[in-house]
């Protein structure tokens, strides 16, 4: 995979090939898997993303802790009061995937399980609103994957290492690049969308209540989806950002390394240690012990 957004774009410009083609041939060379097989697997990945959204919007699944389930449906059913149905639909879809994840459902951890709601909500919603063909969605996934690969190399994707900015921040950057590309953005605009989306997520801590991938994760996935789309809009309109995408990614890595452990998925700080959170953790039902012999303490 590419190690910088700059080298990815340089490869595309030097060869005159579109970004997704550069990503595809790089992956094919590195893995030894034929390009068509890679595309087919991405197609199956998109299908799992769609099923997770559909299941989540039904609103039936509850997590074992009882903390999440049904909120995507609530938003979906109540609709929009402000910005219109496209926004509410995208938000509901982001929450839907995370609720399915929390209920031990099948999801695609792109880039992680905790940030699994962002890319499907953005891609599948934008794909539907703008009537994007499946092949083009697969191309957009390739672009998103390349951006995630650069971030994995230069910074981190793990909340335990870099806080939530590493998880939902990366997901937002991947989704922003994907939709900017779908809408015919230039290479520069794709890179700007990455920079704009990630700079807006810098510093975000990972402080899950009870240490579970539930609250605030479902809401952070929803807001990261909006971050992705608003960044793409600004980039496509020609707004610039003076710091390059690679530099913003490096800053995200630096902020993660300097982030206190209490804010890196330990549930030892932030929202997780509030009085409300502690009450919720005490109230939640404990799951059944691992029969037949149980979990000894």
């Amino acid at each position: 995979m590419h190690r910088s957004i700059e080298s990815l774009i340089r490869d595309a410009e030097a060869s005159g090939r579109p970004l997704p083609e550069v990503v595809l041939s790089t992956e094919s060379d590195e893995s030894g898997v034929a390009p068509e097989q890679i595309r087919a697997r991405i197609g199956r990945t998109l299908a799992v993303m769609r099923s997770a959204i559909d299941e989540g919007l039904k609103g039936e699944a509850r997590s074992p802790s009882g903390m999440t389930g049904g909120r995507a449906r609530l938003l979906w059913e109540n609709g929009s009061r402000i910005l219109g149905p496209r926004v509410t639909t995208t938000l509901a879809r982001a929450i839907a995937t995370l609720e399915v994840n929390a209920a031990m459902g099948l999801i695609v951890a792109a880039p992680t399980a905790g940030a699994a709601g962002v890319l499907p909500a953005v891609l599948i919603s934008v794909g539907e609103f703008l009537e994007v063909e499946e092949d083009r969605l697969i191309d957009a996934m390739l672009v998103a994957g390349a951006v995630g690969g650069v971030i994995a190399h230069r910074a981190s994707l793990a909340g335990a290492e870099g806080g939530c900015q590493a998880e939902t921040g990366t997901a937002a950057a991947m989704a922003a690049a994907a939709v900017t590309w779908i809408q015919g953005g230039s290479h520069e605009q794709v890179a700007t969308a990455v920079a704009l989306s990630l700079q807006g997520m810098l510093g975000l801590i990972c402080d899950p209540i009870g240490g579970l991938v539930e609250i605030p994760c479902i809401y952070r996935n929803a807001s990261a989806a909006m971050q992705a789309i608003s960044s793409a809009e600004m980039a496509l309109a020609g707004l610039d950002f003076p710091v390059s995408a690679d530099e913003v990614i490096d800053v995200m890595g630096e902020v993660g390394r300097r982030m206190p452990a209490a804010y890196r998925e330990t549930a030892l700080g932030g929202l997780a240690t509030t009085a409300s959170a502690q009450r919720l953790v005490q109230l939640r039902p404990t799951s059944k012990p691992g029969k037949p012999s149980g979990i000894s303490r």
């Binding site: 031990m104 991938v213 691992g290």
Partner: protein, 221 residues
Amino acid sequence: MVSLFDILGPTMVGPSSSHTAGACRLGLMARAILDGTPERAVMRLHGSFAATGEGHGTHRAMVGGLIGLAPDDLRLRNAYEEAERAGLTWEFHEVELGEEAHPNTAILEVERGGERAVVRGASVGGGRIRVTEVDGFAVELEGNYHTLVILAHDEPGTIAAITGLLAGHRVNLATMRVDRTGRNKDAMMTIEADDPIPDAVFAAIRTFPWLRWARRVEKIS
């Protein structure tokens, strides 16, 4: 190296790639090392696995892995019922392995028809795992290849004998590492192959007089 599908995946049963998918793969590894579904398993969880495993389905996922359920198999939700049907009895304990240990470490003791294996490994992020000890011997296994681990008296010709056998069965090698333990002048060989290690090769290796211990580990999903 990170591949595209490490980023656009894995496709998995939630909620956590490290605590659910990784735990499942540790179970799959213990099963692969035992070469079949265990009848009995004792699992000791350390650190974050012990502290937050319950809410992440870690126990369920690990039991599911032991009976051969992959990280994307929805039956992981009902892994306890599935495992009872598969004839597995199991128990979980918490263990304190010290500061040095990876926070998501587990020790799995598995038994099947008189065979026994003790596997220590950790879930190192994104569903990836690293097994660092089998039967008390230091190893390094990630489950991405069909693997042979062999402890042999360090004498000339051992490597040639093994690679010769593999070549004779047209097994393509991906990587090979040899570490001398120093003590008793034993050498630990880890051989990763693209293809499954044939029964005949493994049986022949087990007859070598210089062999101290060997395990064959199937690639896991």
